[in-house]
């Protein structure tokens, strides 16, 4: 789960990580008031969306005059900002962050992630601040410093000093930067984060460190014990259908093909999408119904997939282990009677209570295309697609 920059900076303030003075604003007038309250000789107006790449996309604007703050805010709020992470449809900007402009002498990168390779929290730092760290890592890996944290003792001071020295800091700066690293780690650990990033971490004209930008994402599995993080979730930043699906405990991701998919298990769901594409079709979505799916859950899955107007064929592929084919079949029958289904349905059931499931489908008189195997199901879905188009 992601939160906005202004929310991350509030969290940083709580952990005494230095950030610029700033105010969040929902309107151009409020942005102007914010700039007046902040004072100073220049301001930055930053679009608040969850996607990165805002600077290059024109989502971070500088203002020398107060009038410009209002103009910039007016331009950003209500617009769709397209960055390299948003996709071409962009993201609606609902609010901006207004900050005092800073006098920047040097820029660094500081981040924490859970490293899949060693399965530990890892501190990442670089003297190449303000740039795309993945690009830096790909082009010149020697410029990216990694320091692994032992979970038994946590991040140690000496590790922070070592990293600070490795990115070229010296003198008092080493201890100053080390303190920031330590605090960022504490925040990361306390809040069950998966990623925290300060890019850039700057040194200002008067020699102070500041987190000029701030980004964090949190573990969805840990939100039960992080209520104040969970409260900051911004549903406007998420696909409404994905939000609705997650409300029904379904894992749904929209794609741009025409074969709607309802599958159990993420691995089988991906393999099913891959198979559809190998037979010449394209999946309209990823949907994992999970384990123990009730008839209601299946009916909800139908509704969510069929809401997509691009769906021309609906394919169910369920290999029931902890699931039950009879429940799945009941769900299919219920969905078809509740909804107007105008596309061919391909059903492949296997596993627990298969015979009961098949009987329910047969007795219902439901029109559907039966498939025994994954290959069958993928092939018949793509064929039905061609038939429907003719």
């Amino acid at each position: 789960m992601n939160i906005h920059e202004y929310q991350t900076k509030d969290l940083f303030r709580h952990y005494k990580i230095p950030v610029p003075e700033g105010r969040m604003a929902h309107s151009a007038n409020k942005a102007l008031t914010a700039a007046e309250q902040l004072g100073g000789e220049g301001w930055v107006v930053k679009a608040q969306i969850h996607a990165g790449g805002r600077g290059k996309a024109g989502g971070v604007l500088l203002a020398k005059q107060l009038d410009e703050v209002r103009e910039h805010a007016e331009k950003l709020i209500g617009s769709h900002l397209v960055t390299k992470q948003t996709g071409e449809q962009g993201r609606m900007v609902n609010r901006v962050l207004v900050e005092q402009m800073q006098d920047i002498k040097a820029e660094y990168y500081l981040g924490l992630v859970i490293n899949r390779a060693n399965q530990r929290i890892t501190l990442i730092a670089s003297a190449a601040g303000g740039m795309d760290i993945e690009e830096v890592a790909a082009k010149s890996p020697d410029k990216v410093i990694n320091e692994v944290v032992d979970p038994a003792v946590g991040l140690q001071d000496f590790q922070c000093r070592k990293v600070a020295a490795s990115i070229g800091l010296s003198g008092k700066q080493i201890n100053m930067a080390a303190r920031i690293m330590k605090r960022l780690y504490r925040c990361f650990r306390d809040k069950d984060a998966l990623m925290a990033e300060i890019n850039p971490l700057v040194i200002t004209g008067d020699g102070q460190f500041l987190a000029l930008d701030a980004k964090m994402s949190f573990d969805g599995n840990a939100l039960f014990r992080q209520p104040e993080i969970a409260d900051q979730r911004d549903f406007d930043e998420e696909d409404p259908k994905e939000v609705e699906a997650s409300g029904h405990d379904l894992n749904y991701i929209a794609l741009d093909g025409s074969v709607g998919c309802i599958v159990n298990g993420a691995g089988l769901a991906m393999a099913t999408m891959d198979a559809i594409s190998l037979y010449g079709g394209r999946p309209a979505n990823f949907l994992d119904v999970g384990g123990g799916a009730s008839p209601e859950k299946i009916a909800n899955a139908f509704r969510i997939v069929l809401e997509d107007p691009n769906v021309k064929v609906l394919m169910l592929n369920i290999y029931a282990g902890i699931n039950r084919c009879d429940w799945i079949a009941e769900g299919i029958v219920k969905a078809v009677s509740d909804l107007e289904v105008n596309v061919p349905i391909v059903v492949r059931l296997a596993g627990t209570n298969l015979e009961e499931g098949r009987k329910i489908l047969a007795d219902s008189g439901l029109q559907y295309i039966h498939a025994d195997r994954l290959s069958d199901a993928a092939e018949k879905s793509v064929k039905a697609l061609a038939g429907g188009a003719a």
Binding site: R116, Q119, I121, N221, A275
Partner: protein, 295 residues
């Protein structure tokens, strides 16, 4: 001998008296698994499905000789339950629970160091040695005894592959799902090493996914150290980029972890790569025939 579990394994369930644990303990018993009891703190001394309930894993191990545990406790308490199993001397800990916080698993993995135990999961369908020991939630009837070792991330894709093999008369020595979480108990490599040494396994099927580099590490080891055919599949060729969990790991390794890139690497490492999940069974069969011709 199969790997991890066999007919002599003595199994306990943690969170024994819960609904899911009860159902799956009964299923395990039906297949002949030696379920010797379970742990539910506060219910020690009771009997559940004709087996003793203990307050602690320590009690359960001392009184039943249990060496395998299946963990069904809720996510908030899973890390504690797994560490209790490690401390209690359990050798194979299968964590079925889905939704365990990642940082909890980071701590569990640290605690594991210096202990002689293997964790499978969390978020796993579990482990099965057909007709001998079932410690998981998979449908037992599709697993026919045989000589192919299977290790997958996904549970349901594991069932899919196993059914395809069963139809071709290919049985299973042991099958394991390691779970889809970014920080998990044991990786492909750990199990590859065990299969390499197992006399009852003639070939290994590895079913991976996009994200991370565990499959490539295991295949690299197998090329240099394992004298058995390795068949590999990677799910997620059509998954949209940027929606995977592998992102953070990829920053550090700088490695490409898309399905296409991984399959290419596996092919270079002499793995029999399956392009289509519907062809897994047939590819396993062909790779065995090919190896026989060479021999």
């Amino acid at each position: 001998m199969s790997i991890l579990v066999n007919k002599d394994s003595k199994v306990i369930f943690q969170g024994f008296t819960g609904q899911h644990a009860t159902f799956h303990a009964q299923e395990a018993i039906r297949m002949g698994t030696q379920v010797v009891g379970g742990v539910t703190p506060g219910k020690g001394g009771q009997t559940h499905i004709d087996r003793p309930v203990f307050d602690t894993v320590k009690d359960a191990v001392e009184q039943t000789g249990a060496d395998v545990s299946v963990v069904f406790v809720p996510p908030a308490f899973t890390a504690d339950a797994v560490m209790e199993a490690i401390d209690g001397g359990i050798k194979v800990i299968v964590v079925i629970t889905d939704g365990v916080p990642v940082q909890d698993m980071v701590r569990v993995k640290r605690y594991l160091i210096g202990h002689d135990a293997i964790i499978v999961g969390p978020n796993t369908a579990g482990v099965i040695t057909p007709q001998a020991c079932k410690v998981g939630i998979m449908p037992a009837h599709i697993y026919v005894p045989g000589r192919i070792g299977v290790v997958s991330r996904s549970g349901t894709l594991n069932y899919e592959a196993v059914e395809q093999m069963s139809e071709l008369g290919l049985g299973i020595s042991t099958s394991i799902s390691i779970g889809g979480d970014p920080v998990n108990g044991c990786d492909f490599l750990t199990l590859m090493k065990q299969f390499a040494e197992d006399d009852e396994t003639d070939a290994v099927l590895m079913i991976g996914e996009i994200g991370g580099s565990q499959e490539v590490e295991a295949a690299t080891w197998a090329r240099d150290h394992m004298d058995k055919p390795l068949i590999g599949f990677i799910a997620g060729a059509t998954a949209p980029p940027g929606r995977t969990m592998g992102h953070a790991g990829a920053i550090i390794s700088g490695e490409d972890d898309t399905a296409q890139a991984k399959m290419k690497r596996l092919a270079e490492l002499d793995v029999h790569v399956v392009q289509n999940a519907a062809e897994i069974g047939r590819t396993v069969q062909q790779s065995l025939q090919r190896e026989e011709c060479v021999a």
